[in-house]
């Protein structure tokens, strides 16, 4: 796997292979379109490649709690699902965050609300970045827009999960999951579990027993834990990343993530070829949000247009990022409608000329 040969695979497979390369040894999941390629691939490969465990859980609730269990054991573990399934995981994710357990959750976002459809959507941005579960917690959120990023970000996701002892969400969508592209697999350096052996539970031989929990009843204990979590989230801000494209001389900066980001890139290229001064910021991390990047651009006097395949979610973060300096317009492409680069010509031109 270490030579630089490109393989032609689906995004779902890239995500699966990325997880294996990251040293993931436990997979738990429940079938749901459009991510079934992942459990199907890993049902044999998890054992074959990493000598790991694959469990088809009875539900997403169970899958997320199996993840919590494996994480408590210090294992590199993951679950994958799509929107309705991820909604069912919210309690467990809140517990993982509260108990400071690392784990990777992939959401191949489909159309909602409700059963919706199985097409592409970015409707789960709020759920992903605001903690759809209860309480004050955050998960790191990575948003791949290509199959290669699907692969790479899985490796990154496991690393971040252990670095911060926090759940990491990989927010893909049906386009990224279902498309095929050339992917160059690579093997990261040996997995660094950032000292998991010092907190995980694996039998109290020769040491104090350990306890992983999120219940804090003693006076002030929960407040303390929340302060602790908040300072961790503060530290996470350093991980914010974005793909900045043609922004230097841009008058209008489009902000778009994931597959919509890459599709908009085509639109921007086309407009550039027509001499239009448009740029693109594609956030690669959705939490932490690359606010600095946007603030810097705002200070340069750029205007902003946020494009999402939803009814307006990330635009809140863009507006909050540049507040006091600039604002952002919004164009939403409805879930339920497969977007192409043509769809974004008119809105971008409109706001460019506004």
């Amino acid at each position: 796997m270490s030579e630089k040969k490109r393989i032609f695979i689906k995004g779902n497979e890239a995500i699966s292979r990325g997880a294996l390369a990251a040293g993931c040894t436990c997979y738990f999941g429940y079938p749901i379109t459009p991510q079934n390629d992942i459990p199907e691939f890993l049902s044999t490969e998890m054992a074959a490649v990493n000598n790991g465990e694959f469990v088809q859980a009875e539900s997403e609730v169970a899958a997320a709690n199996m993840l919590l269990g494996a994480a408590a054991g210090g294992a590199r573990a993951m679950t994958t699902s799509s929107s309705p399934g991820v909604s069912l995981m919210q309690e467990a994710i809140s517990y993982m965050a509260g108990s400071e357990l690392p784990g990777v959750i992939v959401n191949v976002n489909r159309g909602g609300p409700g059963l919706g459809d199985i097409g592409s959507s970015q409707g789960d941005y709020f759920q992903s970045t605001r903690g759809g579960g209860h309480g004050d917690y955050r998960t790191l959120v990575l948003a791949p827009g290509t199959c290669q990023e699907g692969y790479d970000m899985m490796i990154e996701a496991f690393d971040l999960a252990f670095k911060y002892r926090n759940p990491v969400l990989v927010l893909a969508d049906a386009i990224v999951g279902q498309m095929k592209e050339p992917v160059t697999p690579w093997e990261p350096k040996a997995a660094d579990n950032h000292g998991a052996e010092d907190w995980c539970i694996d039998g109290a031989k020769g040491r104090e027993k350990r306890l992983l929990k999120s219940l804090f009843l003693e006076d002030g204990a929960l407040a303390g834990q929340n302060r602790n979590l908040q300072s961790k989230y503060e530290a996470m801000q350093a991980e914010a990343r974005a793909d900045v494209f043609e922004c230097d001389d841009a008058e209008l900066v489009v902000v778009a993530f994931g597959s919509i980001g890459r599709i908009v890139k085509s639109t921007v290229r086309r407009l550039r070829s027509e001499g239009k001064k448009v740029g693109l910021v594609r956030p690669l991390t959705l939490y932490p949000f690359p606010s600095e990047v946007l603030r810097d651009l705002a200070k340069q006097g750029k205007r902003f247009l946020t494009i999402e395949q939803n009814c307006g979610q990330m635009v809140d973060d863009v507006r909050l990022s540049v507040r006091g300096i600039a604002d952002s317009e919004f164009h939403g492409h409805m879930p339920g409608d497969l977007p192409g680069s043509d769809d974004f010509l008119a809105p971008i031109i409109k706001h460019l000329e506004d």
């Binding site: 169970a62 269990g69 494996a70 408590a72 517990y95 539970i201 694996d202």
Partner: protein
């Protein structure tokens, strides 16, 4: 005079008074678990999955590694933990609200898959921690805060019998219902735990021990009356016995 200490708390039990109400059987169940883990030499290899209920603080009393599972999900958490540590001893400790109500799918599927874990199921026919609401195991006629006139079969259905269900599943290796109301039954309960735990250690499969237990507070009875209730009302409906033992297949 040379005297021998013939009964003492096992060392695994942390020496602090429990938060349980007087006469609550969680204390007995904790001790039995502690004794069996000690006798089997498992203390340093044990991972305890606590559940949400009065016993959520089990980790304050047993000196082993532990994780807190969301309400009802201990069997799923234990599945993940055991898969990550196949060589460790993993058990869950769950109440009847936790296991038979919200966590029903998780316990049944963990058993059906034959996960190599052990489950200690404390059935006190009521939601203890939250203040005495009806549980799926509440007996017909029994009063609870959400059925103050007593459980009514027509309206609420009958008490669910978990050992009967778990015993019927393919992946279950050992399943027994015991009771903590008398010295004899407590002795039997300990043997059952040992049996179930051994099945995990040997890699045979899923072990399940249901313990009929008293919750004097929410039964609104004194501890002695509560004990009597187990014998007179619970055991007749929840028969004691072995519901599955793969090492004796066909024998019973």
């Amino acid at each position: 005079m040379s005297e021998k200490l013939v009964f003492d708390a096992p060392e695994i039990m942390i020496d602090r008074p429990t938060h349980y109400c007087p006469g609550c059987h969680h204390g007995v169940a904790h001790r039995l678990v502690g004794e069996v883990l000690t006798e089997m030499g498992l203390v340093d290899d044990t991972l305890c999955v606590g559940s949400i209920g009065c016993s959520v603080f089990i980790y304050n009393y047993l000196d082993v590694d532990a994780v807190e599972a969301p309400h009802g999900r201990a069997p799923a958490v234990a599945t993940g933990l055991k898969r990550a540590h196949k060589d460790k001893f993993v058990f869950t400790y769950q109440g009847d609200g936790d296991l038979a109500s919200i966590g029903l799918a998780e316990i049944v599927h963990a058993a059906n898959r034959g996960e190599k874990i052990s489950v200690v199921f404390v059935n006190n026919t009521v939601y203890g921690m939250t203040g005495g609401q009806m549980a799926p195991t509440t007996l017909v006629g029994q009063k609870a805060t959400t059925c103050p006139d007593g459980r009514c079969a027509e309206e609420h259905g009958q008490a669910i019998r978990m050992s009967e269900i778990i015993g019927g599943l393919g992946g279950t290796a050992y399943c027994e219902r015991v009771s903590l109301d008398s010295v004899k039954n407590i002795r039997r309960a300990k043997k059952a735990l040992r049996k179930a735990f051994e099945m995990q250690v040997n890699g045979t499969g899923f072990g399940f021990v249901e313990m009929l237990s008293a919750c004097p507070t929410n039964w609104k009875m004194d501890p002695i009356a509560a004990n009597t209730r187990i014998k007179e009302e619970m055991i007749p409906y929840f028969p004691l016995g072995v519901f599955k033992d793969v090492t004796k297949d066909g024998e019973e």
